[in-house]
Amino acid sequence: MRPEIEHDESVPHTHPEPGVDPHAPLPAAARALRVGIGGPVGSGKTALVAALCRSFADELRLGVVTNDIYTTEDADFLKRAGVLDPARIRAVETGCCPHTAIRDDIGANLDAVDELAEALGPLDLVLVESGGDNLTATFSRGLVDRQIFVVDVAGGDKVPRKGGPGVTAADLLVINKTDLAPLVGADLAVMDRDARARRGTLPTIFQSITEDPRASRVADWIRHELAHHRVASPVPVPAGQP
């Protein structure tokens, strides 16, 4: 939201040309940043994917790989929300082993990422949604560059205390559905304290997608990671060029 600012017309000021970004463009990256979104069943992973699609629609070339048990309703959900062209979504079947497909045997997911790039051209960001699993499921570093672990307050405020690799080691922990906290008697202060104890300096974001349908703070975190990714893996300049 934009703060209301009173302009003092006596002070001379200039605006940058509208529509022109005053910053030097970031270098393009050699390949898309791949961000895994994992977490227990129903915690809001698909809702987060949809929210991020809303945020990045006009900003990034986006692809989505889902390991969710994928129905046409899911596709319709993303389509109806007007957030993503179904051509940008690939579904991976996991044979009842959601954690295997993202951690131990990642070939089908890597194929899906490759197919998206083949079909759509270069992408900036690929979101990989894991199938809903338990607190021990995490992504292989061979599949994603960064991972977000989504839990919700409806699972009880004990979840961060239980730990598990998702809660303790994910690059970003999202505690979702804060709007429900009063209804389920979850104490956000307890969750915050336990998350800090488990995660040290790793970031945690409390959010409600119902209240913030663009998941703006998660989107900001991804923008920041993307900037690092572009600097760390720029497109190689062919030899002989300045």
Binding site: I69, Y70, T71, T72, V92, E93, T94, G95, C96, C97, T100, A101, D104, D105, I106, G107, A108, L110, D111
Partner: protein, 265 residues
Amino acid sequence: MTAPTMLLLLADGRFPAGAHAHSSGLEAAVAAGRVTDLATLGDYLRGRLATAGLVAAAFAAAACRAAEPSHPRPSPSGEADQSRLRPPPNGDGDRARLTPSPGGDAGQVRRAALARLDAELDARTASLAQRSVSRRQGKALLRAGREIWPAASFDELPAAPGGPHQPLVLGLVGAAAGLDPAQVATVAAHATVTGSASAAVRLLGLDPYQVQALLVRLAAACDATAAQAARAAEEPPERLPAANAPLADIHAEAHATWEVRLFAS
């Protein structure tokens, strides 16, 4: 037996080539009410072994043979003819054939042999869904093979759009791992029964000890299929086995149209 650990590594269901996502027709057979318990699972696995298992094992062994033409043929007694393992007395004809040389004669011969095997296997796989699944599984195994054996000449596989057929890749991976065609056939036959059996444990909630006991009872049949496949692989590609199960083809076609699937095949 040479390379026993390598054989075990390739046969291990944890080898990262996507096997966990495939029930190889079992999900459809369960939905059709044809596999409901241990007894019907046993029938299903025997049927798979005699059809898709035999064909896959024969093509995998033949691809392995194409990759390493110096492999000794088993003599009628079943013992390997060791004389074929020795280098020729003078000259390095065999060595030249084994050295990857993309433009070389040997490379061209291997390419042609693999392309023929690919076409023959395509012709034996009536269902489009099964052809594409075989190619997807080949692609997955190829990804693992390239990462694990970067020096192997996987580029000699035909460049089909959906990927090369899985048994062909298995043959080359086996050759890269130092397995012989008979061992490669064993890996293929073993995967035929273990893949669907593990899917059955997940889909039907069968007792895992009972399912393992069933696999133990099937072990001899599995070995016999592998041996039959390895013998068949010495024949020219058009003479390789073409055993088929129309109902499995029909199930595969139906499965591919389901809205919600847990398994990719």
